[in-house]
């Protein structure tokens, strides 16, 4: 296998993967092997502390066997060739194979991928990165006397993977960066905060934070000191890209992960090929999106990345699959078979999920609102693919009256409603576009890097 740019200790181990497949496939109809490693550095600077450290290293292997009906796996951290070969032999012997349809290993492919970047952070020393954080901290700290602390956090993650089955030998090195500034302010009675995060797969060019952005961040945090609760009710809502993205991800995206179809957990199954949203709406998931925080070159089952058009002009067109759900449902394979780490199984998971850009200028969207709220940033969201109830919490929103922002801040703001009602209420899609990175769980676990976003949206929702 071509393993250039991957961890040096994998040079021998990676070469073992085809042997492991051959060994297991003497007994089972399909086998695959994966090496996975997450490593990197984290830097934290705040008013009272500084820290430069490795992120918790995760490295291990997974051996997968198809027994004719379902998958069985063993995984571990001992990457010596002898151990893995012996384990593959013993493991294959324990699998009770039943006759069934074979698993398609996919077209023959050998390829190595690595994230490209303009300003490679791995060429900078930890000291230089610490200085970058100290500088940001220093610039943000002096912006307002009400600031009680500023947290700057730099996260650099190298996600290395090598995958093999009998037709594929793939490896990838994905570099993820994340830089966040969190400003805490106090009026002596209470503490409020806001944050700004830049992230993506790529180099330092992805995470530049300007002085103007710091000033705006500080202004938002101070404004939260006088925030009020939003009077509960139905509103016209303008969603900033961050909020639009969480709606795409939580409200709809989780419900089109095809393992949910297998479990009869997704109401979207009834809408395949049907209108589900306003004709202005297109939603995509694209692990190949350049620079996306959720981007990768192939998924954990060796499927090469490509975009999936989930909703096209309001019609639900296609879901997101892993190997098991695609095989079981006879659905097309998409590159969405992802695992949290070698310690967990694969599920159908999103990558970069977003509304496609529209044509309406953001200012004219705001001007069209008589009484509403401009929701600027999400703090959390949760899926409900069966009931299609939506829960998204916006960190704050600003009142709109007669087409103008009033400066009155509401915080926090809960957005609830029935997902198809919300998607069909979208009557304007902005001409802008942005993605925000984060970490997504499935249920309450299985964390994986993703991004979500899109343009500004205008819709109707219940706020409270």
């Amino acid at each position: 296998m071509d393993l250039k740019n991957l961890p040096p200790e994998w040079i021998h181990t990676g070469g073992t993967l085809p042997e492991l497949i051959s060994e297991m496939e003497t007994k089972v109809p399909y086998a695959a092997a994966l090496l996975a490693r997450n490593s990197g550095v984290q830097i934290v600077v705040n008013h009272r502390e500084q820290r430069v450290t490795e992120i918790p290293l995760s490295q291990g292997f997974v051996l997968t066997a198809w027994n004719g009906a379902w998958f069985e796996e063993v995984a571990g951290t001992d990457l010596t060739r002898e151990h893995m070969l012996e384990l593959a032999r013993q493991f294959a012997k324990t699998v009770n194979v039943s006759p069934a349809e074979p698993i398609d290993p996919g077209p023959s492919t050998q390829a190595h991928f690595a994230t490209s970047c303009m300003e490679d952070p791995t060429l900078l020393s930890p000291k230089d990165k610490l200085e970058l954080c100290r500088d940001l901290h220093s610039r943000a700290s002096e912006l307002d006397p009400r600031i009680v602390n500023v947290h700057v956090r730099y996260l650099e993650t190298q996600e290395s993977k090598a995958f093999a089955n009998r037709t594929k030998q793939l490896s990838q090195n994905v570099l993820r960066l994340r830089l966040s500034v969190q400003v805490f302010v106090s009026d002596g009675q209470e503490v409020k905060y806001d944050w700004l995060t830049k992230d993506g797969t790529g180099g330092l060019e992805m995470i530049q934070i300007t002085g103007q952005e710091l000033i705006e961040l500080c202004g938002h945090a101070v404004a939260l000191l006088s925030a009020e609760k939003v009077p509960p009710g139905m509103y016209e809502v303008i969603c900033a890209p961050d909020v639009s993205g969480v709606i795409a991800h939580e409200a709809f995206g989780h419900g089109v992960e095809l393992d949910m179809f297998l479990k009869d957990r997704a109401r979207a199954e009834e809408y395949l090929g049907e209108v589900i949203a306003s004709p202005l709406v297109d939603i995509l998931d694209d692990p190949s999106y350049p620079g996306g925080h959720g981007s990768y070159f192939f998924d954990d089952e060796g499927q090469l990345s490509s975009p999936t058009h989930i909703i096209r002009q309001g019609v639900f067109e296609r879901g997101l699959s892993d190997l098991f759900s695609a095989h079981s449902l006879g659905a097309p394979r998409t590159a969405n078979g992802r695992r949290e780490s070698f310690q967990r199984k694969v599920y159908a998971r999103m990558s970069n999920t977003f509304f496609a850009r529209g044509h309406t200028p953001v200012q004219s969207m705001i001007e069209s609102v008589e009484r509403g709220v401009y929701l600027k940033k999400t703090s959390s969201g949760m899926e409900d693919p069966k009931g299609w109830g939506m829960q998204v919490t916006s960190h704050y929103g600003e009142e709109i009256r007669n087409g103008e922002l009033t400066g009155q801040i509401f915080a926090p703001v809960g957005i609830t409603g029935y997902v198809p009602d919300i998607l069909q209420s979208i009557d304007a899609v902005g001409d802008d576009f942005a993605l925000s990175g984060g970490t997504c769980g499935k249920g309450h676990k299985e964390w994986a890097p993703v991004s979500s976003g899109g343009p500004h949206l205008k819709l109707k929702a219940r706020l409270g």
Partner: protein, 442 residues
């Protein structure tokens, strides 16, 4: 592996203090969709998490010594490169200037029940039995079936040593049971989804939980949206734990942390009320309890080697003390209590049934879609996944809409049930009644 790492640390230049946690874990995982297995996995892992401290003169002007620390994770394959890995850690630790602090000194550790011997001996059988119990229980539940289930049966061996002579070890087990039920009726299908974490299989009454969740799934089919307004709200069982503990970042835990106080992010003061208004409900008393038998957050020692303790944090609404790891205890000059353990809350004055007194309308929430109160402000908003409206003795299911408020306002006026419940990392009242909560519904 542990001894090799310790020996290397003792020889390593630039390491002025160190801490090693050696963690070996096995995980048996069983996944089913309906009656059919989906996946079965066995995972074994071993790692050593090493923290090194380096003391050095301040980078900028000043006198004395400053301390930096860095953490590295070592895998068995790293042993051949140990000096290089430790060099890198020392280099990183040397970059940062923090006020000096020490490590815990050796002390006698308690012996807390952490491991289920059956889970250790027969992990696969325990996992299969959980699924079988679920399936059998659901056979008696009309119109309800199992969508999917996941069972993890895990065992961890943790050994700890530090440069001051701390040495300890503990063995623990953990069980995850995550399942989804589907109920059909009136041309609709709805689900109820729940996940439980316990250290001991006997702490999960699977048939009773299956029966409860089946009823929730059936009720979701006929549920209505609640009204909009301010109402009394009772939150109980797993939903209450979510409200109090959030998803790992409870405002009660964070605001009482010495680390947050040191970072100027907690406005709480020892000896002063944590409530934002004059208390007029049941007195709120909170312990961090790492000694609770089979508690998910129990331990003979914490992550840096401080002995497990039961510590009074909030006494009748007054902050008794900040919980503190060694570093922040030294910074604030308060006793080191160790990491926060299980959340223990004193029982209240009312029988559970009496929390529902009155003609209503009153809302009883049993499941949120997600409830994560803001860890700094205590503000909360959560969509109602399932609840009940109680009005003049009539009960009808509700779902959709949300409740919102501030946790510290809400606790000032809350009444708690006399009955307590143990839910893995929570021991406290089964239910709480909050007299005025904003509900956003129709």
């Amino acid at each position: 592996m542990l001894q090799q790492v310790v020996n290397a640390l003792r020889k390593q230049d630039g390491v002025h203090d160190w801490l090693v946690r050696h963690i070996q874990k096995t995980s048996n995982q069983y996944y089913v969709i309906g009656a059919r297995p989906e996946n079965r996995r066995t995972v074994t892992s071993e790692r050593a998490v090493v923290t090194v401290m380096n003391d050095h003169p301040p980078a900028k002007k000043g006198e004395g010594r400053m301390r930096g620390e860095a953490e590295v994770t070592l895998l068995p394959s790293d042993l051949q490169h140990l000096p290089q890995k430790l060099d890198q850690a020392v280099f990183m630790a040397g970059l940062t200037d923090n006020p000096p602090y020490g490590l815990p000194a050796p002390s006698e550790y308690p012996s807390v029940d952490l491991a289920d011997s059956e889970m250790q001996a027969k992990p696969r059988e325990v996992a299969e039995r959980m699924v079988q119990q679920l399936t059998e229980a659901l056979a008696n539940e009309k119109g309800v079936r199992l969508s999917s289930a996941e069972v993890f049966v895990e065992e961890s061996h943790i050994a700890i040593q530090n440069s001051r002579g701390v040495s300890g070890s503990q063995v623990g087990t953990e069980l995850l049971l995550d399942f989804v039920l589907l109920a059909s009726g009136k041309g609709e299908e709805m689900e109820s989804h729940i996940a439980f974490r316990r250290r001991r299989a006997a702490d999960l009454d699977v048939p009773a939980l299956a029966c409860r969740q089946a009823q929730y799934a059936r009720d979701a089919i006929v549920a209505h949206t609640p009204e909009t307004g301010t109402f009394p709200v009772v939150v109980s069982d797993d939903a209450l734990v979510e409200l109090l503990m959030g998803s790992g970042y409870s405002p009660l835990v964070l605001r009482s942390a010495a680390q947050l106080k040191y970072q100027l992010l907690s406005t709480w003061e020892s000896g002063k009320s944590i409530l934002t208004e004059e208390p007029h409900g049941d007195p709120f008393t909170l312990y961090s309890n790492a000694l609770l038998a089979f508690g998910s957050r129990s331990g003979n020692f914490d992550d840096e080697g401080l002995p497990g303790q039961r510590v009074l944090i909030i006494d009748k609404g007054i902050l008794s003390r900040f919980w503190a790891t060694q570093r922040y205890a030294e910074y604030l000059q308060v006793p080191a209590t160790g990491g926060f353990g299980n959340m223990e809350i004193a029982a209240g004055s009312s029988p559970f049934e009496n929390l529902f007194d009155g003609d209503g309308p009153l809302y009883h929430i049993v499941a949120f879609s997600a409830m994560s109160p803001d860890p700094i402000t205590g503000d909360f908003v959560g969509e109602i996944r399932l609840g009940y409206e109680i009005r003049k003795g009539r009960i009808r299911p509700i779902r959709g809409g949300s409740i919102s408020g501030n946790l510290f306002d809400a606790l000032a006026a809350a009444r708690f049930s006399q009955e307590t419940t143990f839910l893995g990392d929570y021991l406290g009242p089964r239910g709480m009644r909050f007299p005025k909560v904003t509900v956003a519904g129709v």
